[in-house]
């Protein structure tokens, strides 16, 4: 702080020294008062044309004698003069007059403290708090109802008799898997039961069907099976081997139960 003031003072002193160093001080002495002569001749005026320059001729007058010096008036000659100094006026150094420093005019500047908290602008003002009112009358208690989502139990119905109305397909047994002796015995029983010549018979298949209760029987040659319609008595009846055959001469179907093994 003091260093800066000291530096400023030195600069100011140097500036003043330089400003006043180049000035020439010229002392002009006042001229002595010239007394007018009491006696003298009238000034001779010579008529001149207007174009001639004015010329005044001074004539010496001896009013106070020879002791009083007199000066002869010089003739002014008119001529055009120009001042060239104005053009270089702006380039000249400017003399800056600085006010000298004065004591006691400096004021102590205190730095204002920064605000501790930034102020938030644009904050919404809280809405007006509604006035609370109390309803003294209680709400009605709702009635409670229970809906049981449980599905109702179902009862099973015995429907075997109704089911037996549907034809039951029975597949023919594979006679190739039967013992040859057994199959020979079945063939013999078929011939004996139908009374036909064995050469006139074409065996369609061997089926295990209920011994009783078969209400209807149809042959399904495409599937190699028979479709039987059963009665309730057929359910518990024993299954017996049943041979179905076709008579070759007229295509009639022949069948008979053969004894089991």
């Amino acid at each position: 702080m003091f260093g800066r003031v000291r530096g400023a003072m030195a600069d100011a002193a140097e500036t003043l020294r330089r400003a006043f160093a180049g000035l020439n001080v010229v002392q002009v002495l006042p001229e002595p008062f010239a007394l007018m002569p009491h006696q003298g001749s009238l000034l001779a005026v010579a008529p001149c044309s207007g174009l001639e320059p004015l010329a005044a001729i001074g004539r010496p007058a001896a009013l106070f004698g020879a002791s009083v010096p007199s000066r002869t008036l010089e003739v002014f000659q008119a001529r055009l003069m120009a001042e060239a100094g104005w053009a270089s006026w702006g380039a000249e150094a400017e003399v800056v007059c600085m006010a000298p420093l004065e004591t006691g005019r400096a004021a102590r500047v205190s730095v204002p403290p920064l605000p501790r908290q930034a102020r938030a602008l644009g904050r919404l003002e809280p809405t007006a708090r509604p006035a609370t009112r109390r309803i003294t009358e209680p709400l009605a208690q709702p009635g409670l109802r229970r809906l049981d989502p449980k599905l109702a139990g179902v009862s099973a119905v015995a429907g075997l008799e109704a089911f037996l109305s549907l034809p039951v397909p029975i597949r023919a047994e594979d006679t190739q898997r039967l013992p040859k002796g057994l199959w020979m015995r079945y063939s013999l029983q078929l011939v004996r039961g139908t009374g036909e010549n064995v050469r006139n018979l074409e065996v369609l298949g061997l089926f295990y069907i209920p011994r009783k209760g078969v209400a209807d029987l149809r042959h399904d040659p495409k599937q190699g099976r028979i479709l039987v319609r059963l009665e309730p008595s057929a359910v518990r009846a024993p299954r017996e081997p049943f041979v179905l055959a076709r008579r070759k001469d007229d295509g009639a179907l022949l069948s008979c139960f053969v004894e089991g093994s």
Binding site: L151, G159, L160, P169, V235, R239
Partner: protein, 182 residues
């Protein structure tokens, strides 16, 4: 022939807004031994909303199937249902192996009785000479040993009957019952 083997065929159908199911027990010739069906169940609109997607499985497994199984005096040897029902994640509690049967277009296997295991619970079974093998799908509750025993029973029954045909009969019977009821 082995008359002791009993096959139970279960089918549940939806006719309109009603559900009903049937259980057919046959011998190895396909001859019916028992048939029971449930009365049609029509869930209310509220029940349909509350149960959502679980309504149909719940009705078929918990309501219809359990009711029908309770009615059986002796448990069957095999519990057969449709492949669709089994694929939907069957979680019933039948006391016998539960499986589904499906006809295939696969080329015949080497000989009758041959099996080809396509998966842990899926196998092909050759039942007839020269015919396409039958696809057998077991429920998750059937362990490998039980699968072997069930396969042997299927092979024995398949020698005498078409194993997939009774399920079609049950469906036809249920549809005819609905028509009669309406």
């Amino acid at each position: 022939m082995a008359d002791a083997i009993k096959l139970a065929y279960f089918m549940a159908v939806k006719e309109g807004a009603s559900y009903l199911g049937g259980l057919l027990v046959t011998d190895t010739s396909g001859i019916p031994l028992d048939f029971r069906y449930t009365e049609p169940i029509t869930p209310t609109h509220l029940q349909s909303i509350l149960y959502g997607k679980s309504l149909e499985p719940h009705l078929k497994e918990e309501v219809i199937q359990k009711t029908l199984l309770k009615e059986l005096k002796t448990p069957p040897d095999l519990f057969i249902l449709s492949a669709t029902e089994l694929a939907g994640g069957w979680s019933g509690d039948a006391k016998c192996p539960v499986l589904a049967l499906q006809k295939t277009q696969e080329s015949p296997l080497a000989k009758v009785g041959t099996t080809f295991r396509a998966g842990p619970r899926d196998l092909l079974l050759q039942l007839a000479e020269g015919a396409a093998p039958l696809r057998v799908m077991f429920a998750a509750s059937v362990d490998p040993a039980a699968q072997e025993q069930a396969t042997a029973k299927l092979l024995e029954a398949g020698y005498h009957m078409d194993l997939t045909e009774p399920l079609e009969r049950v469906t036809v019977a249920l549809q005819s019952l609905v028509v009669k009821g309406s």
